[in-house]
Subunit: 132 residues, 6 copies
């Protein structure tokens, strides 16, 4: 299996509901360094997993809808905690839709799975991985 | 699949038996930076893989039994080389027992697998991954 | 000159005033990975720059006053932007006071300068460095 | 499953064919930081995945055939783009042959799979993973 | 003193003259991950060392003149080895000119020094630091 | 000022004397990832700070005298704690002697200062910096 990874980041504010979160129930925020890994069994005709330029642009667009926002006010997350894991899944879903819609190029239709990893500090990260 | 990773470290002394180890047959030591990755198909009711506070505390407790020790004198490793791989497995077993015993919370019972990675330098690491 | 560095992190929400900040004028947040570097010309009697345990505890205490908060509501920053640079200076001032007050041990009085670096992403960081 | 990873690097010149590559169609170059991960279900008699010394030597030998070269002139890649993904596969094939030929020791015959990751910058990497 | 750092990268081909360079006398290439650190004694009116957006754009422009090129053919380096150190100095000079010309904003005129670091692998880097 | 940095590592066992060290009074060990930074105002005739090959070989030789040893038994440290800071100074002294003796080449005589940094974990490092 071949993989290609691109990295970007975004910064947001949010708060969590539930006693298990302790002081993180207060309004705070985070920088998430995002790694997106595209995987497929064979390369496309150009010898790549995906056009790295298109992949980076699309990731930037997906993160752009989250960047510099208070996620407590984003209707997409109403009634849910925007934990690292939930955000990884949201970004996965939006990128998966983009791949299926052909937004990463026709060659990208050979992509079989996607993993989205959000590094929230030097000691913790969360991810979501799924098939396309 | 969702994953969550926490990081910590410990420092030990040890020596290895077997000519294949060359100068590492002498008493020496290492810093191991430890990554523990918890994986499960669905999130718990709070929207997380595991309570990151409980996971970090339990990892600290497991590493505490190894920290600042000469592993050549630890009965748990009698007759065995405490290679990076063996230590990764040992930490895996102790954390897996903790998950099964409910020490990481009831929600953690949904964890399906665990990977323990020990980074011993900027150029080498070993890991053990298994199901719960 | 000898130096010793300890690392920790904190997560906050804030917003910036001034058109130069563009979308960062909205309420958002950040993870700051903090490096504190203590420097002195000679080591203390134990052969160290500073007791690493005391240094880490004190850093944790200083960051504890900022952690999981909306800095827009912290009176210490009233009327000022809590940029990376300003936060580095604030943490410097609070740690410098602690060193002078003897909170890092008598031996720490030999520390001559301090640098506080805040890494806000994989591509940007800010710092403040000064004499004690 | 147990894994062991060793890291090394190499620097090359090359150019790409195909409009999708934009300015990378010009002669340019790259540093690739290479991670090779060996995986197997059980450790060998010494308690390791593979002799880390032999693995590092063999990786150095495989990279030595590529180092400080213009890959556009290497017959092994005639008519193909030497993308990160293609280079990862080439290094995989050469290391897999070495494992099968016993060049990493008899114990290494228990290795079940191999992953070769090439980090080309702080924001992008590619890899190839396969069974032995 | 306050500092702010921004990071970017570029990829080039080149060769070196001189027996001391051994196999690096052949045409090869490198990825350089570039850190630019701006330093000044006091912050500007917005509470920053430099507008991070303008600094990043200018760095991108300076690197754009080098990116995806064979530096052996760049007249700016005729008769000189484009070592990591020489490239760090070149980027320093071009950014210093930009700061002096006001291209990073009027506030940036308070910048007193600049350091340009080029990381060429996980084990080596070079830098140039100077006053403005 | 120009700088060039090379990186390597070594692993040792040791123990510390003094109540301030707590559990580190027991025999334990560490991996030290070592960065050596050579600095000078002008480059040599080849356009470099120092021959990176000679610098790496010499660093390897200096670390070779420490590698895979119990430093409690090394006469060079009799009666002293081999703290990170003390080890950084020892490596500095040995490399400074090598530079002065011409072991890094005649061109290296232009080196004005040296910094040796020992990273002992992902959260702590110590260094010694001095003139030649």
């Amino acid at each position: 299996m071949y993989s290609l990874n691109v990295r970007d980041h975004f910064m947001i504010a949010h708060s969590f509901s539930g006693e298990v979160f302790g002081p993180a129930q207060r309004l705070h925020g985070a920088t998430y360094v995002v790694d997106v890994t595209f995987t497929r069994p064979e390369l496309d005709g150009d010898g790549v997993v995906v056009d790295i330029g298109l992949a980076s642009q699309r990731l930037d667009a997906v993160l752009g809808a989250l960047r510099y926002r208070n996620l407590d006010e984003d209707p997409a997350f109403a009634g849910r905690n925007t934990t690292t894991e939930v955000l990884a899944r949201t970004i996965f879903d939006r990128l998966a839709d983009a791949v299926r819609a052909g937004a990463l190029g026709e060659g990208a239709r050979g992509i079989k799975s996607l993993r989205v990893t959000l590094r929230e500090s030097h000691v913790a990260w969360g991810s979501y991985e799924g098939s396309l």
